[in-house]
């Protein structure tokens, strides 16, 4: 099977699809049609590339982390999405979809956010393109990612704090979908990860694939290899990971997705959907889920709000089923250690989400030894996480 094939009938193997209320069916059908039209449109692509370059700061560098490599072995490289405007990969998708929404004549944008990075990126894109912007965020996340809430407001977005359920990303998505069903005609739902009904997982993947394409171009120029031995990215919904992996699916390299292990899978407090979940339908798509025996969605836990989600993008479920990507779990403590280590050794404060991928890279570097190259997508910077880290480490900082 060609792993890189487009989804057929909206599905990646058996995963994906359009499991949405009838009111939204014509909307997602129309979106699919419009997107398939516009993605070949030269003018659209020119506009997008220009904004990605001049506004967002693409291309991002790939950087050899000498100190980390020296200490742990291997040759560790970082794809610096943290240097993008807004501080995370999210802007790649937000600008793309905001342009798409604009071309569809929509004037109001809604989005969900976990860590607040997608909310910030979307608020920026909306300010730039003169679109009204409302963001749904779980009240739990509003509290733990407060710097980003303030940024969104400064950028002109309205932030709705969602108090239902676990008050995290899952509930923010529920509430955004309810808004969408109510305001379908005026509103575009700008989903922030490769989740939701088809065509969203495809659209977001396409906009994020610029990460992998650039790695593919840059890596041979700074090393003696064409393709890295190992590529690692963290997986919440899975957008920075699929954007990183997609251009490499047909190549010979090891791809590793890192989910949040929270307090430990064995303790039942985690967000490791692919490692510990089972198949089901949530938020419009068939994929892996964390659910109980009756299909009730389970509460998740992660120190990083952006990974604290009981579902995962359907394409990741597919790639797991094909054994193309290995999915592993890194717990809170390991992530915090990597966060600190990265800050001290490389002078880069990474997002807590990204710190999961870094922790895995450190583990692998020790196992693989000096000859092997590891590329890690540094999906975001960690300024937003300083309050939570300060609280976590207390006086030990």
């Amino acid at each position: 099977m060609n792993l890189k094939s487009q989804p057929t009938d909206g599905k990646f193997g058996i995963f994906g699809g359009k499991y949405v209320p009838e009111t939204l069916m014509p909307v997602v059908d129309e979106l699919e049609e419009k997107y398939n039209e516009i993605k070949e449109n030269e003018e659209f692509n020119k506009k997008l590339s220009k904004l990605l370059q001049d506004y967002a700061g693409r291309s991002t560098p790939i950087y050899f982390a000498e100190n980390l490599s020296k200490k742990y072995g291997g040759k560790i490289y970082f794809k610096r999405e943290d240097l993008l405007h807004g501080g995370a990969h999210k802007i790649n998708n937000s600008i793309g979809q905001a342009l798409l929404a604009k071309s569809m004549g929509k004037k109001r944008i809604i989005a969900e956010t976990g860590a607040g990075q997608h909310g910030v990126a979307t608020a920026m894109a909306c300010a730039l393109l003169d679109l009204k912007c409302e963001i749904y965020m779980g009240s739990n996340d509003v509290e733990r990612q407060s710097p980003n809430v303030f940024r969104m407001k400064l950028l002109g977005a309205e932030v709705h704090s969602v108090k239902s359920g676990s008050q995290t990303l899952k509930d923010a998505i529920n509430e955004a979908i309810r808004d969408w069903v109510t305001n379908v005609e005026s509103t575009y739902y700008l989903i922030g990860s490769v989740v939701g009904p088809h065509p969203y997982p495809m659209i977001v993947r396409d906009f994020q694939s610029v990460i992998g394409r650039e790695i593919k171009e840059q890596f041979p120029k700074i090393t003696s290899q064409q393709i890295p031995d190992v590529i690692i990215a963290c997986v919440g919904g899975g957008s920075n990971a699929i954007g990183t992996f997609y251009p490499f699916l047909d190549d010979e390299c090891k791809l590793v997705g890192v989910e949040a292990g929270g307090l430990g899978i064995d303790k039942g407090k985690h967000s490791s959907t692919l490692s510990a979940g089972s198949e089901g339908v949530l938020h419009g798509a068939r994929s892996y889920l964390l659910q109980d025996k009756d299909g009730q969605i389970q509460e998740t836990h992660s120190i990083s709000a952006g990974l604290d989600y009981p579902g995962v993008g359907p394409e990741h479920s597919f790639l797991k089923s094909q054994d193309r990507v290995e999915y592993v779990s890194i717990n809170d403590e390991e992530a915090v250690n990597a966060f600190v280590e990265m800050s001290k050794l490389e002078g880069i404060i990474p997002a807590l989400e990204t710190s999961h991928a870094i922790a895995e890279a450190i583990k692998r570097a020790q196992e693989l030894g000096d000859k092997k190259s590891i590329v890690v997508t540094l999906s975001g910077r960690g300024d937003k996480d300083t309050p939570i880290i300060a609280k976590h480490l207390g006086n030990n900082l």
Binding site: E22, V27, G280, G284, D294, G295, I297
Partner: protein, 268 residues
Amino acid sequence: MRISEKFKEGKEQKRSLLIGFITAGDPSIEVTPKLAKALVEGGVDIIELGIPFSDPIADGPTIQSSSMRSLSNGTTTKDILDMSKKIVEELDVPVVLLTYYNTIMKMGIEEFLHEAEKAGISGIVSPDLPPEEGEEYVKLAKSKSINTIFLASPSTSDIRLDNIIDSTSGFLYMVSLFGVTGTRDLFTDYSSQAIKRIVERVNGRVPVAVGFGISKPEHVRNFTKLGVDGIIVGSAFIKIIENNLDNSDLMLEKLNKLAKELSHAANN
């Protein structure tokens, strides 16, 4: 009792049917059959039992809270199916299940339908399952004589509607507005226009029942005049449950009273 027989009865009596929705297990799995009985005695023709789901994206705050009350009681799918059987045996009305699709997926389509058949369930509504994703489900349900009730909305085009009708049996669930469940005071002209269009296009191929937001006799009268065959009321009943959690006699009495008022309005 079969859903089609019930609609035939309504047609003969020149009235629209009243379909009453409650969440199974709210306030408790023991009380649910009593609530159903109060509704049926008040004139409800079809009971729609909601299986609570942790993430009900098509529901407003009233049904969300109701689902949470039920889940916090520890209600399971099996409890609900067992209890449904009691309602089916005791009350001579069709019982329909409303369930988000993950509940069906988790149990397995075949197993879920098998258990529903054993409980005497007449039909199933799944608000996040469009016919496009439900081919196997429709086929299996047909073989068990369980009706597959799909939804139409104001945004459904005529062509989509024709495809939906092909997969629909029992009745078509017409969503009256853009939005989630929950009582509304007023309906805009937009709802009436959409209902008229859908009723015309369906043209008797399946009965049409309209739901979402309906809470008052005047809503029922207005929609009945537009030629729909059934009226679905949920949040208005659930608000009564929510407001009388500490007095079950009063809860039953008020449910019965509202059912009477609404079914009276459906009689015009």
